[in-house]
């Protein structure tokens, strides 16, 4: 960076050199500067997770001088290192294992002795993770992003002090600063996470052996994905959920009830409307006292591993926000305005640490938008159109509003559904569990929400998201040609069911 600035000076010097005299003096010879403090950067980003690294790359592409500070020692944050990516590796490979064990015989494939090699399963996961994190480092280099491995904290409104991972300290000065520090696991009061017996999602992707019995506290997306992985690998899994439905916020209740039935069929036990009162570690076991959410039905569950998956909370520890007087809301989120500015306008914030759903793709969208706001003055994120996916088998995906959202808001709607059992491709694949459900305005036919359970739902929801973003009607989808035979035809037929009638059901 310094040399880039000085090259400019060298160029000025060379302009005064007598013509014809060849340069024998290297550019470094002309290094004369009075600036001894750190060079001011256009953008300093605290956090190299999905929000931070995407913002850094985008800023680099926009020609900004950008520095990204990350303390983990690897880029990608929770998502790449201990979240979305490693869990998808385990979900994919455990599904293959489960399918070979239980689902190939009736397809005409007889497999001999099938063994689980958990070490290799974990190695495959680590390979995926390291490949992707190194890929991000390469993108940093490609886009001229300065990467500092260390812990950043505010020294003042423009200066970030960094405790370097390799020892020592440095500071970076930025015209703009972006807080993208993400989130951390919300602990369960009275049950200390040791990542061996009582684990968080981080421990759940790194168990050294398959537990015999596993209790999952929290029936949200993370809990159900991990319950699926370990259930497929042989654990007896019980999910305890405080609410009367699983799936967490946003999932349509009808869809949630359907997926619960499907997962129950796969061997996962559910205790809904149940609260965890306390937990206790005794030797190799963990005892969990549960009760009905209304009380009066106490019970004790025992397991060798308990997964705490009750949610995540914004992470601002050690950031020194008090030094600059930045405010957090009652849930610990950094308060921002519609252009991601905190009350100190050059300090902005995106991702899990602020408002909105804690989703990697939402953070990515915000990261691009915030850089555009800084550089161009406008950006775009449609918070009404952020898809959510649960990567169980079958997958669950949705975008827009759920039926219960619409009822609560008093919005009239029309429903159209189409089951995968009537879809030709699902039939040939022998994967017919699930359905596509569409909600549309009864007067204008404009789409309000799309909810899918089914194989490949996570990919299929992209079409729904695009339609919703464009403000499409269900008829628009119904009139669009879809290839045959594909699972996507179920999507078209659900649109036909919403608009008029489906052909194949």
């Amino acid at each position: 960076m310094l040399s880039q600035r000085l090259i400019g000076r060298a160029a000025v010097k060379s302009a005064f050199r007598p013509s014809g005299l060849p340069s024998i003096v290297p550019a470094s010879r002309w290094r004369r500067t009075y600036a001894t403090e750190a060079e001011e950067r256009d953008l300093v980003i605290i956090g190299g997770g999905v929000a931070g690294y995407v913002a850094a790359i985008k800023a680099g592409q926009e020609g900004m001088k950008v520095t990204c500070i990350e303390k983990r020692g690897a880029l990608g944050g929770t998502c790449l290192n201990v979240g979305c990516i490693p869990s998808k590796s385990l979900l994919n490979n455990s599904h293959l294992y489960h399918q070979i064990l239980h689902d190939t015989k009736h397809r005409g494939i007889e497999v001999g002795d099938v063994k689980l090699n958990l070490k290799q399963l974990m190695k495959a996961k680590e390979q995926s993770v390291s490949g992707l994190t190194k890929g991000v480092e390469f993108l940093f280099k490609k886009n001229g992003v300065e990467y500092i491995k260390g812990t950043g904290s505010f020294q003042d409104e423009h200066t970030i002090k960094v405790q370097l991972n390799d020892g020592g300290e440095t500071s970076v000065v930025g015209k703009n600063i972006l807080i993208a520090t993400g989130s951390e696991v919300t602990p369960f009061p009275g049950l200390e996470i040791d990542e061996k017996r009582v684990i968080s999602s981080t421990g759940a992707i790194a168990l050294e052996e398959v537990p015999k019995k596993m209790i999952v506290i929290g029936g949200g997306i993370i809990g159900l994905e991990m319950a699926s992985v370990w259930s497929r690998l042989g654990a007896d899994v019980t999910v305890v959920e405080y609410l009367d439905v699983i799936g967490g916020p946003g999932m349509d209740t009808e869809i949630a009830k359907n997926i619960q039935k499907i997962l129950k069929k796969q061997g996962i036990n559910f205790k809904t409307s149940t609260k965890v009162v306390s937990g206790e570690k005794t030797g190799d076991e963990v005892k969990v006292q549960i009760d009905s959410s209304k009380g009066g039905k106490p019970e004790t569950l025992e397991a060798d591993v308990v997964l705490v998956a009750i949610g995540r909370r914004p992470y601002t520890g050690g950031l020194g926000l008090e030094k600059i007087g930045l405010e957090l809301d009652e849930r610990g989120r950094v308060i921002i305005d519609s252009e991601y500015r905190t009350k100190i306008p050059h300090i902005r914030c995106v991702g899990d640490v602020t408002f909105g759903p804690m989703l990697a793709h939402k953070a990515e969208e915000e990261a691009v938008a915030v850089v555009e706001y800084i550089k161009k003055g406008y950006g775009h994120v449609n918070y009404g159109c952020i898809p959510a996916v649960m990567y169980t088998f079958p997958e669950v995906a949705w975008v827009g509003q759920s039926e219960q959202d619409l009822k609560k808001a008093g919005i009239k709607y029309r429903v159209g559904t189409f089951p995968f059992s009537a879809n030709s491709r699902a039939k040939t694949n022998l994967d017919t569990d699930g359905m596509v459900k569409m909600l549309a305005d009864p007067e204008t036919d404009r789409l309000l929400g799309i909810h899918i359970i089914g194989p490949n739902a996570g990919e299929m929801i992209a079409e729904g998201t695009l339609a919703l973003e464009y403000g499409a009607s269900s008829e628009d989808i119904a009139r669009t040609c879809h290839a045959h035979p594909t699972l996507a035809e179920a999507f078209k037929e659900a649109a036909m069911a919403t608009h008029s009638k489906p052909i194949h059901f």
């Binding site: 005299l21 060849p22 024998i24 003096v25 290297p26 010879r29 290094r31 004369r32 500067t33 009075y34 600036a35 001894t36 403090e37 001011e40 020294q155 003042d156 409104e157 423009h158 002090k161 000065v173 015209k175 007087g325 405010e327 809301d329 308060i335 921002i336 305005d337 519609s338 252009e339 991601y340 500015r341 009350k343 100190i344 602020t354 408002f355 909105g356 759903p357 003055g377 406008y378 994120v381 918070y383 499409a472 008829e475 628009d476 009139r479 669009t480």
Partner: protein, 135 residues
């Protein structure tokens, strides 16, 4: 004749107005209001008063204390690490000369005071009285 009729029909078909239309090129408004508004995902749908007062500083003097332009514009904060350049009088920083028996090493000074290394090409130019520059 028949072919022409078919072609005409095909052309007519191609010109029909589709039900799903292209809505046109994206346009960016010439002026955008950047005044702080609540974040769309904010549960309270409101901003604290500190956002709407326009500045987080209570006075212009307070703003000057925090303003930056290639470093602190004027730092009067004098507590610990926060003291900026010029935040303390020169005399308060101690004597310029080293104590007796202690010598400054040139290499401990900022890079601009270091001896500049000579390259082999420079040495050769000097030794040949400048001739090597034109060799």
């Amino acid at each position: 004749m028949f072919t022409t009729r078919v072609l005409r029909q095909a052309a007519q078909h191609a010109e029909r107005t589709p039900s799903i239309k292209f809505i046109g090129k994206r346009t960016i408004p010439a002026s955008i209001d950047h005044s702080p508004r609540p974040h769309p995902a904010s549960p309270s749908h409101s901003l604290p008063s500190s956002f709407t007062t326009g500045s987080s500083h209570t006075s212009f003097s307070a703003y000057r204390d925090h303003a930056q332009q290639h470093g602190p514009l004027r730092k009067t904060i004098r507590s610990g690490d926060a003291a900026g350049v010029g935040g303390a009088a020169g005399s308060e920083l101690g004597p310029v000369t080293p104590p007796q028996g202690i010598y400054f090493d040139r290499n401990e000074l900022p890079a601009r005071f270091h001896r500049q290394p000579l390259t082999l090409a420079e040495i050769e130019v000097i030794e040949t009285g400048g001739a090597a520059a034109f060799a």
